[in-house]
């Protein structure tokens, strides 16, 4: 579980891997991120990131959104050009599509403008229409059906957690299915790791909640290496000791112990350590000269970088102190 896997060595990706090798050189270094986090102003933070291609056209929050949208669209264009297997492109874009669908649904229910990200497969105008109160029919299948079903469920329960959970369940089910279809052990293993980390976060959230019975009903995703049924029982009964004992016998013992034991900001630390574990897994593709794995690893690392840049620059815009930003970046509490 989450160890080294056999890489495919498929020569069909050799040209794309050549491109990835150059692009990897342009990924942000931790030092640049720390410099941005410790900068005095938002403009100074942007200066620290400029060398890696982060240059907003306009100042302030609008410039930041435009910058991230540009980077995201460029990344998607690169992947579209480089991936011979269309299912892999779909797999990589799926997170963005479901995140956009979730944002549109939440925007519709809270009557706020949704933060949609460019670069996915779903048309942004249709998502905006959905957020403005339109029907999900304009979206392609299976998003239209999912949107309709979730809106019906919302009318019954009016629970935002259930809505988000519904989107996540659909996303992970489709990711799992696609990873199986594509048949890359690297992808299947990464998918398992992602599902496990999502389930561990759900377990920590349930154990900390005052109403774990309600929360745990739809909290756990099938398909990972952890037993979702067992996690459900532990969460429902609020059995923190049992949870420590069970997770302690899995490869996530060190990663999740503090969070399950109820440490302050346990969920934040779990998120940072989970991201580290994912990056550690992706690193095994860093030196592979053949196969789709380096491309997948680059895409996921770049998406992670975009999230980190959004986090750091949004914090700078809102005047968050540098030590708080760096503490959150590296999981130091």
């Amino acid at each position: 579980m989450t160890g080294r896997v056999k890489l495919s060595g498929d020569p069909a990706y050799t040209y794309a891997v050549g491109r990835v090798r150059v692009r990897e050189r342009r990924l942000l270094t931790p030092r640049a991120l720390v410099e941005a986090a410790e900068a005095r102003t938002f403009e100074d933070a942007v200066d620290a990131l400029r060398e890696a291609g982060y240059e907003p056209a306009t100042r302030g929050g609008a410039g930041l959104e435009e910058l991230l949208a540009r980077q995201s669209a460029e990344l998607t264009r690169f992947i579209r050009e480089s991936v011979p297997d269309i299912r892999l492109l779909e797999y990589l874009r799926l997170r963005l599509d479901y995140a956009n669908l979730k944002a549109a649904l939440v925007g519709r229910l809270t009557e706020k403008k949704p933060p949609l990200t460019d670069g996915g497969g779903l048309p942004l105008d249709k998502l905006t229409a959905l957020a403005d109160g339109g029907e999900p029919d304009g979206l392609p299948s299976p998003f239209a059906e999912l949107g309709k079903r979730l809106l019906e469920e919302w009318e019954k329960a009016r629970d935002p957690f259930l809505l988000q959970q519904g989107v996540d369940r659909a996303l992970f089910a489709r990711l799992d299915e696609l990873a199986g279809e594509i048949g890359l052990p690297f992808l299947a293993e990464y998918q398992r790791l992602e599902t496990d980390l999502a389930n561990l976060a759900a377990l920590v959230r349930c154990l900390a909640a005052p109403n774990p019975e309600e929360l745990s009903a739809a909290a756990f995703l099938p398909g990972g290496g952890l037993d979702a049924g067992r996690l459900g029982i532990l969460a429902r009964t609020g059995d923190r000791g049992g949870a420590v004992d069970y997770v302690g016998r899995t490869p996530y013992a060190e990663l999740a112990r503090a969070a399950i034991e109820g440490a302050t900001d346990g969920l934040g630390v779990l998120a940072v350590r989970g991201a580290d574990r994912k990056l550690e897994f992706l690193r095994q593709a860093r030196h592979a000269p053949f196969g789709a794995e380096p491309l997948i690893a680059y895409y996921l690392a770049k998406r992670n970088e975009l999230e980190l840049v959004r986090f750091v620059l949004t914090c700078k815009l809102n005047g968050v102190p540098p030590e708080t930003i760096t503490a959150r970046l590296w999981g130091v509490s």
């Binding site: 050799t14 040209y15 050549g18 150059v22 030196h287 000269p289 053949f290």
Partner: protein, 150 residues
């Protein structure tokens, strides 16, 4: 029958080495094209790495040429036994050329990746490729010795 065996040996020496070189250069060439599309600098460094798996094809051509010379010299007295000797003499360069070119292509492809990330280390990438070359050279030498012994 001797002529058939000797022609087959000569043809295999050229064809198998050539196939190996084409595959090896194909790998390294694709990787180089990918790197060039993102960063067109340092083409000279990538050119050597891309061309390196091509030498096996040249070795095969040299061996094939030597075998044909031998066939020409022995045509009047060619027997099945001599034909088979020439055929067997051509096999080392044919097989070593085929497999070493493919593997050298893989090493050079990895070397292209290394150079893309650290251009100053391209010499090390080249040395690693040359290690594989060594076995193709051994194949050619044995083929030459065997042809001389026929």
């Amino acid at each position: 029958m001797g002529l058939v065996w000797s022609f087959l040996g000569s043809a295999l020496a050229v064809a198998l080495s050539g196939i190996g070189s084409a595959i090896g250069i194909g790998y390294a060439g694709q990787a180089t094209a990918g790197v060039m599309s993102e960063d067109p600098r340092n083409f000279g460094k990538y050119l050597v790495l891309t061309a390196l798996p091509g030498t096996q094809g040249i070795y095969g051509f040299v061996a094939g040429f030597l075998a044909l010379n031998k066939i020409g010299a022995l045509a009047a007295t060619m027997t099945t036994e001599i034909g088979m000797q020439i055929f067997l003499a051509c096999l080392p360069v044919a097989l070593a050329g085929l497999f070493s070119a493919i593997h050298q292509g893989k090493v050079c492809t990895a070397g292209v990746g290394l150079t893309a990330k650290q251009p100053a280390e391209s010499g090390k990438a080249l040395v690693l490729g040359v290690f594989v070359e060594f076995y193709a050279v051994l194949g050619l030498l044995i083929t030459i010795f065997l042809l001389n012994a026929v």
